[in-house]
């Protein structure tokens, strides 16, 4: 019973990620900004988090740091989603404790799902 939390503000990306994860038998929660994300986590701790690091109205870094400094939550794997041209951002995110990252336009979605499964079930 794997519970994934998607922190993303673009509806069409939420749609694609959610449907693919549901097809794998995961439970999926969605938060559209940092605040919502923290609220959801207080309610139910996820087994993995997909985080869009550059949501325009929300600070993805702030959420990331909060999660990775929290005693209970810091062990939850966090996979960052970003765009091309954000190499600096990706480095920063990895330094801040993110476990992995994907540049959206460079990878088909099935690779993201595959990586999620690796983190959930081990390699």
């Amino acid at each position: 019973m794997n519970n994934i939390l998607i922190i993303e503000d673009e509806d069409f990306l939420i749609r694609a990620l959610k449907d693919n994860l549901l097809a794998e038998g995961c439970f999926v929660d969605v938060a559209k900004n940092g605040e919502e994300a923290i609220e959801r986590m207080k309610g139910k701790e996820p087994d993995l988090i997909l985080l869009d690091i550059l949501m325009p109205k929300s600070d993805g870094f702030h959420v990331l740091k909060e999660i990775k400094s929290h005693t209970k939550w810091k062990s939850v794997p966090v996979i960052i989603l970003s765009n091309l041209g954000e190499e600096m951002v990706i480095k920063q995110a990895l330094r801040a404790g993110a476990n992995d990252y994907f540049i959206k336009s460079q990878h088909p979605i099935h690779e993201v799902i595959k990586k999620v499964k690796e983190y959930l079930y081990g390699k």
């Binding site: 673009e10 509806d11 069409f12 990306l13 749609r15 694609a16 990620l17 449907d19 693919n20 097809a23 109205k57 765009n83 091309l84 041209g85 959206k104 336009s105 088909p108 979605i109 099935h110």
Partner: protein, 395 residues
Amino acid sequence: MKKNKQEFLINQERVKERMWPKQEILEAMFLSAGDHIMAMVVVDKNGRIIRVNKGFETLTGWREKEAKNKFLVRVIPREDENKNRVPFKERILSRVLSGTILTNTATAAGGGIEKLPTFYYVRKNKTRFPATSVISPVLFNKKITGAVEVFYDITKEKELERIRMDFLSLASHQLRTPLSGTKWLIETMQSGILKKSEKKQKEYLHDIYEINEQMINLVFDILNTLRLESEEAIIKKERISAQKLFNDVLILVRAAAKEKKIILQSPLNHRALYIHTDPEILKSILGSFLSNAIDYSTVGQKVILDVQEKLKEIVFSVRDFGIGIPKKEQKRMFERFYRASNAKNFKPNGTGLGLNIAKILAEKIEGEILFESQENKGSVFYLILKKRSGKNKKI
């Protein structure tokens, strides 16, 4: 009779040419500064400064008497982007004087100012400026007896280049986001996981369609912006009646208004008002205001187009009663690609370039754009054109 007079005048010219010393012409060229300050310096075969022009004094801060006889490479150090000094021996001037480079474009082969690697010259007061230069040896009996360098301050060009690069970078980012979206949506549809839900398939196709619309708008607006930036504007000045102007503009937006059942109103008290400006640009700006007003109104609302003549200005206005602009976001409205948060939800495929383009256009006709807005109450956008004094009054 006529022919003789012509011959006489031609001879006069020839005599003038021979008599006017070439020296003076050269002096005049050398000393003049011109609009874009051009620095010129002449050095001897050892690289010591013989003469400089006013432009040199202005750009570097060194007076001719201070610079004379000193080594040019010492007087003006040259640095790269990272503030590393170029050693004297490696300076282009040194290489020109030693005959290593015969003729030269001092700043890398080919290309105009924009393509050259940036270098900086350091002024007397230790500040620096980006420059481009051309250095030519002076030859006498096939021996190098000196050199002439001409250089310009290209700060302005560099700034324009940076703005354009920033814009392109931002623009490509804006395009990439929707493109990643369609990639994943299409991939998901192709994978077959949606085959059991026709509803979901419809939703995906709708999303892909909307994203595609967004990209069409973006490409159009981006190209428009680039074109506006680079155009040497030939602004027309025509006399157009407010009545005709309004008719033309309202036709442009009639279809969009009809779709949303928006009621377009424009008071008729300005029949006699004439405006002296570029009508196409004016129509573009007002058309943009009207499109926004329609896009951000809800079904059945009113949009009012009006013009008021004031003492020194003519004020066009477009008022809507739609979603308005949140106060905190108002100061960013003319920023490229910026979209207010409520706008993004209301109309997903906006580009965020419309007001920026309108602003550039307004500047071309010496106008100003202002707005007032309240969230959920509506907005008014104003275009203010100054009246010209004297004969060409705007009415």
